[in-house]
């Protein structure tokens, strides 16, 4: 099964579970959780099921395309279901079967792993799912998002596409994975990996990035003043990525680090609470469907 078949199979499986199939969000981010389809939509009482691929940038993991497992940008397949269904573990295990992984032929474990994102002021409890000792999915019940209690609780599944594919294709090196038609991951991603690593570690203009951070931060604040949640959130994402670039480049001291994280968190909290208020003013429109269901 090549990489794009894995993605297609996951998409069609989760589509059958009544998830909205969405596309990657067009602002740089470190994880699928930061896509507004997860971060913002997990807030508040409205039910929400969604699935999408998210190319996720981790500048500090850049290895010039030389490391078999670490990448500047990897791909997550993200599923979010709110409220968390009672049979979510079974749904997840069936999704593995859709990838040709039969649980009884392997050793699949749910090993405690709790998740916290200081910049998003979000945390949850759950597991990393092990397939024969390999972590393939992060499984999290959100408890707080943007400083707000998750009610109802959303559950998030984050599949590591490269990890799963290297298992399925039995490859030691992600660059040897077949994307499709005999073309490898290397054919497509080696050059960007090399260039992004070079840029991050050697070329990036730290003064400019620091300036950008301030600019984005200010603009996020201004948009929030106007109650414009989604535009503000885009700038918060930009702050976060800019911070990651600076951090990877070694341009931030340990004491400064706490300060930067605190600044992003402050914006994320504010954004979350304004988003909640906005949805409330709109009467939590997505609840409607549920009410109609209950009535029929």
């Amino acid at each position: 099964m090549n990489v794009q078949e894995v993605i297609l199979n996951l998409q069609s499986y989760w589509a059958k579970q009544n998830c909205f199939l969405m596309q990657p969000y067009d602002v740089e981010k470190g994880a699928g959780t930061m896509n507004p389809m997860t971060f913002l939509r997990s807030i508040g009482p409205e039910p929400w099921n969604v699935a999408y691929v998210e190319p996720s940038r981790r500048p500090s993991d850049g290895r010039y395309g030389e490391n078999p497992n670490r990448l500047y940008q990897h791909h997550q397949f993200q599923v979010l279901m709110k409220p968390s269904p009672d049979n979510i573990q079974d749904l997840f295990l069936q999704s593995l079967e859709a990838l040709g992984i039969k649980p009884e032929e392997h050793d699949i474990r749910f090993v405690e792993d709790n998740w916290e994102d200081a910049t998003l002021n979000a945390w949850g409890l759950g597991w990393e799912v092990w397939l024969d000792g390999m972590e393939i999915t992060q499984f999290t019940y959100f408890q707080q998002v943007g400083g707000l209690d998750a009610a109802p609780v959303a559950v998030e599944l984050t599949y590591g596409i490269e990890r799963i594919c290297s298992y399925i294709q039995d490859k030691e090196n992600v660059f040897d994975l077949e994307w499709q038609g005999g073309f490898t991951y290397r054919d497509i991603f080696y050059q960007p990996e090399l260039e992004h690593s070079t840029y991050t570690f050697q070329v990036a203009d730290h003064d400019m990035l620091k300036q950008l951070f301030i600019t984005y931060e200010k603009e996020a604040g201004r948009a929030l003043e106007e109650g414009l949640v989604f535009p503000a959130y885009d700038y918060i994402l930009k702050c976060s990525h800019t911070f990651n670039m600076l951090d990877a480049g070694g341009a931030i001291s340990v004491t400064e680090r706490t300060g930067y994280i605190g600044r992003v968190r402050k914006l994320a909290r504010k954004c979350a609470s304004i988003h909640y208020a906005t949805r409330e003013n709109l009467g939590f429109p997505l609840l409607k469907e549920e009410k109609e269901d209950a009535g029929s």
Binding site: P83, I108, L125, D132, Y141, E172, V254
Partner: protein, 694 residues
Amino acid sequence: MTRPFLLEVGVEEMPAQYIDDAREELRAKMEKWLSDQRLSYSAIHTYSTPRRLSVLIEDLTEKQSGTVEEARGPAVTIAKDEEGQWTKAALGFARGQGVEADQLVEKETSQGSYVFANIEKKGEATIDLLPEAIALLTTLTFPKSMRWGREQLRYVRPIRWLVALFGDDIVPYEIAGVKSGRESAGHRFLGETVSLPHPRDYEQALMRAFVLVNPEARKDAIRKQLEMLEEEQNWRVPGDEDLLQEVTNLVEYPTVLYGTFAERYLQLPDDVLITTMREHQRYFAVRDTTGHLLPYFVTVRNGDHRYLEQVQKGNEKVLRARLADAVFFYEEDQARSLDQFMEKLEHIVEREQVGSLGDKQRRTVKIARELAVKAGFSEEVIENVTRAAQLLKFDLSSNMVDEFPELQGIMGADYAFRLGEKEAVATAIKEQYLPRFNGDELPGTTVGLLVSMADKWDTIMTSLAIGLTPTGSQDPHGLRRQAQAIVQMANRYDFPVPFETMLSLTVEAVREEGLTSDVSELSREAGEFFALRFKALLGEEGVAHDVVNAVLIPPYGRLDTLFARAAFLQEKHGTDEMKEVAEAFGRVNNIAKKVADEEMNPPEPEAFEQEAERELYSAYVTLKQELPAFLAKKELQKAWETLVRLTPTIHRYFDGTMVMSEDDKLRTNRLRQMQLLSREINRFARFQSLVIPS
């Protein structure tokens, strides 16, 4: 009539390290509930797997035993009239309690005579009480708990099923939308849903569904398979009780398997290999019969023997990637010089407000060096201590420790040795972290001991300096544990530097770094912090409260002697010998209190009038020579004997001498004698603090 009762809560996988505590808590709460409810039974068993906690009660009575409750009514003076007949008040009380008036009884109480009604309560049917037992499940405490779906309950993980069977009957109950029933889940992949007709055969029924519910049986099964593997392969899989316990709580049906890795990875230090396998993968390392690591690992699968090869292949692949990472980090680290490591330390914050790791090292150098000098160690030791302290934290800037924080010190020792440092220095870098927890091993070398002590003194003092004094259960930097470690090390190694000296030299190092401006305030605070620690530690060692008060008088001096004196006195506590000594010294101390310390002047021996005075004085002179010497050598029995010898002299003295004489000069001289003597005795203990039963 009795029936067994089975309660099982099914959850999504619990964190392995929570399970044992939760099971024990459930047992304790259930036992208490049964006894509070006066419900008899013959045995209680508890079980746990990652997905369930259960309790099985054998021969549980079907009916609560009856009881008689006593209700107090009016005072007899109100309850009876002059003729001794029940008054309206008494009759009203009886009616209210549902008893006949002739069943009322009179009883004396501490507040006078009252009328009582004995009300017999019939036992209720157990099945009606059992919902309370099920509710105990929701009172369990977990280090972290969560909500799920739309439920409000916080629990360790979402609850998915609930079994509550009293004999054949389901005890109806609902927790977080889950109704009780007789269906339990089998193994996630191998077993089917198990419908339990009855609590008996619970273990066997689940066994058939590939779940070993008994954790001890599961652990034994793993242990036996490990032993078989050792035998088959002629391997040693070193006993790792913590890992075994964790793995036991990660599986419902354990099957041991092994895999291999490329021999070239054996070039990594053993600790790196073991940590990679253990911390990231929960694998057991494998050694040959001579103790050398072999390129194999052992893991425990949650499943049976089918498809084992596939599982093995997958695990080998994961480990290969992990080890490739470890080699990468190790080689990166090898390429760096000591200076590069050290330079980076200046940019790593140790704690906010305290400074960088570089600052930490500089303070520790001063403290460790001073400790070595004050303890009278050789030039060579002092030199090694200084060097070890200079390099103390350098490995915290390595890739390896960044990836595996638990390898701190271990990598430091390995790298320092490779970079040409002396073995004593390298070992000390490793030993600085000992003891890591209560009961852990202590540093095995002098240099290790000194840097470990210095490191802990520094952490405590700098934390106090920035106001991080532990309060209640709050002790984020583990200062209490570190103080305890200092005491343990001082005791084990007869550390000769007095407590007050250690304290003041640490305060000085902290002052020089500009972390405190008020030296006397910091010293006072540190003194108080340690006094509380000493008190707690002595208490934990079973030293009685009054003995603690008798020895815990500043200056504390050498810590080893302080703790030895306490243990010695505790042993003597309650003996006739002690009684005699304490009485005699108590008299001395009580009189000595009448003089203020500042009036302290030695008595003039020529002014003594009586033979008893002169005799006591010469006994004092001997005591003054012998007691401190014996204490310094920790020869407590001998020190004690010098005190015992003194008691008849003291008694003779008081028989014939009036200390509070009307002659001013005489009185002053005698008081001074008492004071001097008292001070000497107090080196051992303040005897008047001891509670002596008369």
